[in-house]
Symmetry: none
Subunit: 407 residues, 2 copies
Amino acid sequence: MKDADNILRLGDCLPVLNKFERGSVDLFYIDPPFFTQKVHALTTRDGGTRYSFRDLWASTEAYGDFLIDRLSECHRCLKETGSLFFHCDDTAGHLARLILDRVFGPENFQAEIIWSFRRWSNSKKGLMPSHQTILFYSRSGAFKFHTLTTAYSESTNLDQILQKRVRDERGKAIYARDDSGEPVTNGAKRGVPLGDVWEIPYLNPKAKERVGYPTQKPVLLLERIIQLCTDPQDLVADPFCGSGTTLVAAHLLGRRAIGIDTSEDALKLAAQRLAAPVRTESRLLERGRQSYVREDLDLLECLKGIGYHPVHRNKGIDAILMEEWHGKPVCIRIQRPDETIEDAAIALCNAAERKGGAKLILVVMEHQWGLLGRANVPASVTLVHSTTAAIRHSLSEVLGLRLVAGQ
Amino acid sequence: MKDADNILRLGDCLPVLNKFERGSVDLFYIDPPFFTQKVHALTTRDGGTRYSFRDLWASTEAYGDFLIDRLSECHRCLKETGSLFFHCDDTAGHLARLILDRVFGPENFQAEIIWSFRRWSNSKKGLMPSHQTILFYSRSGAFKFHTLTTAYSESTNLDQILQKRVRDERGKAIYARDDSGEPVTNGAKRGVPLGDVWEIPYLNPKAKERVGYPTQKPVLLLERIIQLCTDPQDLVADPFCGSGTTLVAAHLLGRRAIGIDTSEDALKLAAQRLAAPVRTESRLLERGRQSYVREDLDLLECLKGIGYHPVHRNKGIDAILMEEWHGKPVCIRIQRPDETIEDAAIALCNAAERKGGAKLILVVMEHQWGLLGRANVPASVTLVHSTTAAIRHSLSEVLGLRLVAGQ
DNA sequence: ACGGGAACTGAATCGGAAC
DNA sequence: AGTTCCGATTCAGTTCCCG
C-alpha cells in the first residue's frame, strides 16, 4: 500500500490480471462499459479537464467475448472464499448473467442486487430508468459473507421480534419460555437482514465527492459491497477502476486494493482521490428522508381531496397546487394556530416575492375568520375560509389527549 | 363480458390464443410457471472451450421452446399500439429477456420493472430476495402509454422548480428573469413521472384479497400495469391467469379481460373472485385514486391526521381511535348528510350499547351546527364540529377551477 | 431509413448566502 | 452560532433534426 504503482496499474485488465497469482483476490468489483453504444464524456466542475471513455462495440458477440475473457481471468484470481460483483444496467445485464453463469457456474449465483435511486427526470415516453443491477457471484459455496442489517419496517411487530427463539426436541424453532411459561426476550434487536434492493442516492450534482469522471459511483455503494464480502486487510480488485471509487471505499474501510484502467487520466485522478479520500456526508443519508418533512405539514390535512404537492423547503409556502391558474402556480399557506392573519399573509408574500406572480392563497382558520374585517392583508393574497383543524382541536380538547398522527 | 365462458378459457394458452384474431389484444400480462429445476447451463455448439453468443440459440431447451411458442402467439395477437408485460424472477429473467428480444425485437424493449417488497426474513446466507422483475415490451414504437406521476422527493426544492429557464450568451442554462429582474414561473407541476422501480407491499398473509392460490400478485400491481398501457374498454389478456388477479384488476378499472389457464380449479376460483372483486384496502397506497370510494369511508376523511381504525361491520360506529380515553375505547360516528343530529346520536348510542362505557363522539356537519341548540342528544354523546369539504368549495370558487383529485 | 450531433429537459441534491 | 432557504449544477438524461 506504500506505492501508488502497486495500487494502480495502467492498461487493459486482461494482461494485467494474467500476472496475478491464482487465488490471490478476495473481492472483484467489475464496472465495465454497459454496452450503451455511446461515448461517455464529462467535464470537471472547474471546466479544466474533460474525461471520457468509449462504449462502442461492433456487435453483441464482440462485447460478450470481451467480457468472458476478462471474467474468466477474474475467476482464476479469486480465492475460494472470494466473490465478484458485476455492475450493469438493463441493456446488457441478461448477457452478463449468461456469461457469469457459465464462468462461475449457476450454483454460485448469489443475488441480483438492485441499486435504486431517484434522479432528475426527462421527458421520455415510458418509465424513467431509476435503477441499475449488480450481479453477485461467489467463487464457491464457502464464500465469505457478513450479514448487514437495516432498520425494521414501521409496521413490524417489535415485541414478537424481541422474543428469544430456541429449537425444540424435533429441531423446530419455537419461542423460548421461562420456567413460568413467560416469553423470554432477546436483548438488543439488530435489525432486518439486508435485502437485494438497495436504495442509495445517486451521486448528485453538488456532491463533494464528485470528481468529474463520467459514470462515477457513490462511495457508499462500494462500501456496502466491500463490507459484505471482505474483512480488513483483504484484497479488493477493480479491473475497470475509472476514477477509483472502489479504491477510496476500500481505503476508508482498511482493505487493500488494486485498480486497473486503460486511461492514464483516470488513474491520475484515482491517485489524487486516494491521497485525500472524500465521502459525501449526505444529510439525506445521515438523517433520512423524514428529516426534510416539516412537522407542521399536518396542517395540510385540510387540503385533502385537492391535488397538491407539499412544499418542504420553504417556511412561507405550505403547498403548491397541481393545477395552475392562468399559467401561474398557485401557492398556498395555511394559517398557523398562533399566528395572526396579517403575519400569515406577510410570510406567504415574502416567500413568494421572487416567484413571479404566483397566485397566493391563504387559508384562514375559522376562529379568526371573524377578525377578517380588520385584517390588513396585501391585495395579492386571496383569503379562503377554513375550519380544518377544528375537529382535531375539538377532539383533543374533549378527550384531553394529544392525538397520535394517523394512517 | 356477460358470460364467464367468454372471460375464462380452460386449457393450454397456445391453442386458445391460436384462435384469437391478429391484432385483437391491447395488453398481455404473462406470469408463466417458474420451472422448479434450475435453468440448465447452456452448451456451445462445438462443445469446445470457446464461447459464442450464437450458441445460445442452438441450445434452447424445453423451457425456452415453451415460452417462445406462446410469446410468438401473443405477439401475433397484439395490436400495433399494444404492450406485453412478462413477470419473472432472477432465476430465469435473463432467458426470458433473450427470448422476448427475439420475438419482439430489442428496439421494442421498454423497461425492466423492479417490483420491490419487504418480506419476512429467512436465515439464508446471502442477501434476502426482495424483488421480482417485470419485462415490458411494446408491439411497436406507437405503443399506448399514459404517464403516471408520483410525489416529489422530500428533499426537492419545489418552489424553485417552478421557475422557467433560458440560455445565457454562452449557451448555459440559467433561470429566466423578467424586465424587472423577477424570476418567471412556469405553471404548475403534476408530479414526478413514474420510474421503473415499484415498491408495492407483497400480498400479506392476512390480506382480504388473498384467495389461497400460489404466486398470487397484488391487485394494485396489475392495476398499475393496466393503467399505464390501456384505456377503458380495452382488452387485457392473461394466458396464465391462475386465480385471476389480472381479471379482477381489469374489471375494477373498466377494461375487458380474458383469462386462460390449464387448471379448472384456478378458473373456478377466478370466476368466484370476478363475481365479487376485492381489493385490499391499503390506505397508504390508495391515496390518489379515490374517484369512487364508498360514501361512508369518504366521511372518515375528516378524521385524517388522527390515529383511528375504521370500523367496517357496524352501522352505528364509523371509527375507533387508536388512543384510548381513561382506559376506554373512543367510538366515533360521522353524521350523514341526510341525517339529523338526533338520529345520528341514537344510532351511535345503540351501536355502543354493549361496548361497556366507551367514549362516544359524534361529528356534526357544519351546515347543521346551527341546529345544535335545539338538538336533543343523549348526555353520553359528545358533539364535535366538522366542516370538511368547505375549503375545497372555497378554493374551487376563488380559482374558477375544477380541482383534480389529490394525493 | 439511419446515425450522430446539437438542443433541450427537469428533479434532486448540496453549498453557501442570508437570516 | 445555528438554521433556513435559495439556486447552481448535473445528465450509464431524451428528443429532434439534418445530411
